[in-house]
Amino acid sequence: MENLQLIIPELFISLMIMFLLIFGVFKKNSSQIVYNLTTLSLIAALALIINLDAQIQSSLFNNSYNIDSLARFMKILLILSGIFVMLSSSKYIQISKISKIEYPILILCSILGMMVMISSNDLIVFYMGLELQSLALYVLASFNRDNLLSTESGLKYFVLSALSSGLLLYGCSLIYGFSETTNFNQIMVNTKDVEYGLTFGIVFILVGLAFKISAVPFHMWAPDVYQGSPTSVTVFFALLPKIAALTVFIRFLYIPFYELGDQWQMIIIFLSIASMVFGAVAAIGQKNLKRLIAYSSISHMGYALAGLSTGTTQGVQSSITYITIYLVMNLAFFSCLFMLKRNDEYYESIEDLSGLSKNHPLLSLSLLVVLFSLAGIPPLAGFFAKFYIFVAVINEKMYFLAIVGLLATVIAAFYYLRIIKIIYFDPEKEKFESKHNLGLKFTLVASTFFILAYFIYPSGIVDIISQININ
């Protein structure tokens, strides 16, 4: 029974999923109520996780499910982002006519899958969580089924993701074949010498994971899916799966295969450099804001991977810090996107931002802060995120990676500046609506304030993250 106490948050969410399904089916026109109940149950789940003992370090179910400080922190991050996504997109799904009871329930399913991924300490458990979140995401991507782009993006994501899941599963089977176990800790014990099959297994699993966080060269789905999905789903895509996949990356590389660092380090470095450079270059020509942010997130994932590639605790901590700040920046950016509404229609092209600063000074100011922060200009939070990564990278004497990464930030600065130019230097267009719901406003203000004020007390987050125990 003690085991069950530790997974109360997961149990609670699964029960809520079932309850909301039944409730939604039996009560007519209950989509709004279900949506709000979902938000509430996420808040309750957050409280349950925080309520767990922070120092706890235990493995459940035959050592296949880990409840430790890493899982705790990542789950808090995950559910917090989930809550903010729900808060900011409630109006959007009503206006885009995708307010159905399935929508919030699918989000809950996906979050449950991610929580399982985060805690997994076994290849099978990890795969189960991965599929649970992916299946929910396929449906979410094509949720606006009357829209051609949305269905296309759902299908594209499904086909490519299924392929990558297949590769991943194949990698799992190879590893099982060469180490006779699926448990992460057991794999570490059983794999003292390097065998080709094992290396292949690692590579296949890394491919699958790289696909999930859209690292180059497995990024092809990201721009289309980001653009095609409803914006409320895009923001979900941009934030939550990255947290889960990064956690699995950390667990996978730093528990079973930590000893084989020289086998996977080059792969991660390659993924990192390719993502940073490609993401920065490809974003230059984009005209759609969602597509642009897709490339920008590819590039950001490159930086997070750079931290992982160091193979040190410090590197992992810098990656976690990076992803935390990345989440806040993207949340702020998407909140701004949700505000570009006129006559019940949402605008998402860069040109629509033209001269925004004259009609909406506050909204433009937040966009300015967010964009400079995404570009990594001090003293905004985005600079510190990159700073920690480079501190970790340079400590390992990986100067090439650091210099390429920094040059990529200069390229990336160009397209962020281009948006700022359109907002601030170009002639104004028609006004957007200035009335927004409270949740959206709160999300934007909170995230912008975080970005702006981060430099005053940068130690806060770093201190929390440095408590996380990796091994």
Partner: protein
């Protein structure tokens, strides 16, 4: 001294900016915002003046040092001043209120945003000059890009977008390598605290690469030939107040950085790269002076003259002699005043005729006599006539250079002649000559606020020209200490084979 006077200097403009941001101005002229900005910048000026008075010029150590934990166990927020940085802080707090006064005539739209940008920029500029930690320095150094980008981009001229992008990306590209170097220094020595680094020193096997990384950033910002091309664009397109701040203060950040970091932290590498810096400085002095001669646009001419003057500064710093370094610092202060004044003068006539082309003017002496007088002073200051502050700086730099290398000094002296040529020719074409343009006849002489701002700049230029003692006094001990501490003299002698 418990009162955190430097932090107050840094924070005060930001508080003012927040105040302007949150308080709604009752009328459309933003009268109250202007007064708030003026009040804040003046308060900052008097605060820094007070700092200069209580500053003990005979002590070598950094004074008014404040240290707080910032990124725990890694970087501390540390600020302090010595005789060198205090002058730049004074320059900053002196120039900023003048910029605030000029907005009356030059900024037609979104005045409130402009004042906020200037105040935020002042925070970053002061921060650069008093930070005693490499990371804190980098933070302020880079952060200044944001307000300047907006100042050029929003309130600039026709090609403002191009210029703003060029300014931002050039500087950013130069600076990222500095960040790598700063983090490397942390891993090599275990600290980024400048005072500790001065004591520890950096192993000379690392110095060359680190020096180059810092150089890439400072060379772009100075700007040195051949990475100076962003400057004329940025100057031409920026509004008057923007050009003034850019020329008077932002360029000095790099010169200050050369002294504080390149010389202070990497003395061996600095010596090793002396020929490189000499060459680039001489090219800057001669080549850009020639380019300046050919300009049709007044602002561009002054921008190129800035590059040439900054060439003297880099030359002086890397002579690594007492006179050379003092001369460079003096030249930077003097150039800060003179170039600010020249850009203001261009702004004055631009507001009336809306063109910066030199051949559209001519014969202003009979229409605007008051203007002709102040412009004369600044022209002479720019070409370094004895009796103006420009002379002292150039003279000391050349003296330092003669000590080291007669050929270099001779070529640099040619630059002085060229400088006189383009400045006097500019003056002749604008102020004298025939009144041909009908529109020029309608121009009115200086208004009251223009007289105030311009004469405020005339006074120190002439005062320090005749009596440089206060400035020299302030920097003497610090410069001597810098030379002693790093054994620059000894290194020099070894290099010369003495």
């Amino acid at each position: 001294m418990n009162f955190p006077i430097l932090s107050s200097l840094i924070l005060l403009p930001t508080i003012g900016a927040l105040f302007i941001f949150f308080v709604r101005s009752s009328n459309s002229q933003y009268q109250s915002s202007k007064y708030v900005a003026l009040f804040i910048t003046l308060a900052n000026f008097f605060l820094s003046l007070y700092l200069w008075i209580v500053f003990d010029k005979s002590i070598v150590d950094f004074q008014f040092v404040e240290e707080r934990e910032w990124i725990s166990g890694f970087v501390n927020y540390k600020v302090g001043v010595d005789g060198i940085s205090i002058l730049f802080i004074l320059l900053t707090t002196f120039i900023t209120p003048i910029c605030v006064i000029t907005v009356n005539a030059t900024i037609k739209n979104r005045l409130k945003d402009f004042l906020i940008a200037i105040l935020i920029l002042e925070t970053f500029m002061i921060g650069v000059f008093c930070s005693l930690d490499l990371v804190v320095f980098y933070l302020f150094f880079e952060a200044g890009l944001i307000p300047m980008f907006l100042i050029i981009g929003i309130w600039g001229g026709e090609r403002r977008v191009y210029s703003a992008f060029k300014f931002f990306l050039y500087t950013l590209l130069g600076s990222v390598l500095m960040l790598v170097a700063i983090i490397s220094i942390y891993w090599i020595t275990g600290t980024t605290d400048v005072i500790k680094l001065y004591e520890l020193g950096i192993d000379s096997k690392y110095q060359n690469l680190l020096w180059l990384a810092f150089f890439s950033s400072f060379a772009v910002k100075t700007p040195m030939w051949p990475v100076h091309t962003w400057l004329p664009d940025a100057h031409v397109e920026a509004p008057t107040a923007g050009s003034v701040l850019l020329a008077a203060i932002l360029l000095k950040m790099a010169g200050y950085g050369f002294i504080r970091f390149s010389l202070g932290l990497f003395p061996d590498a600095s010596l090793y790269f002396v020929p490189l810096v000499y060459t680039l400085s001489l090219i800057a002095i001669i080549y850009t002076s020639l380019v300046a001669l050919m300009q049709e646009d007044m602002k561009k001419l002054i921008a190129y003259s800035s590059v040439a003057h900054m060439g003297f500064v880099t030359l002086g710093i890397f002579t690594m002699t007492q006179q050379g370094i003092e001369g460079s610092i003096f030249q930077m202060i003097s150039h800060g005043l003179v170039s600010a004044a020249l850009f203001l003068c261009v702004g004055v006539v631009y507001d009336r005729l809306h063109t910066r082309l030199i051949n559209r003017y001519g014969g202003l002496v009979s229409i605007m006599p008051k203007y002709a007088i102040v412009f004369m002073v600044f022209t002479l200051g720019a070409l370094g006539l004895p009796g103006t502050s420009g002379f002292i700086g150039e003279f000391l730099v050349l003296m330092g250079a003669f000590k080291k290398n007669i050929l270099v000094a001779t070529i640099a002296s040619l630059g002085v002649i060229l400088g006189a040529a383009y400045m006097l020719w500019l003056y002749k074409r604008i102020i004298f000559g025939k009144l041909i343009n009908e529109d020029v006849k309608k121009m009115v002489d200086l208004k009251r606020f223009e007289i105030v701002t311009l004469w405020l700049l005339v006074l120190p230029i002439i005062f320090f020209g005749f009596y440089p003692e206060p400035l020299i006094n302030s920097i003497e001990v610090s410069v001597a200490n810098m030379i002693d501490m790093n054994d620059l003299d000894k290194i020099n002698k070894l290099a010369l084979g003495e």
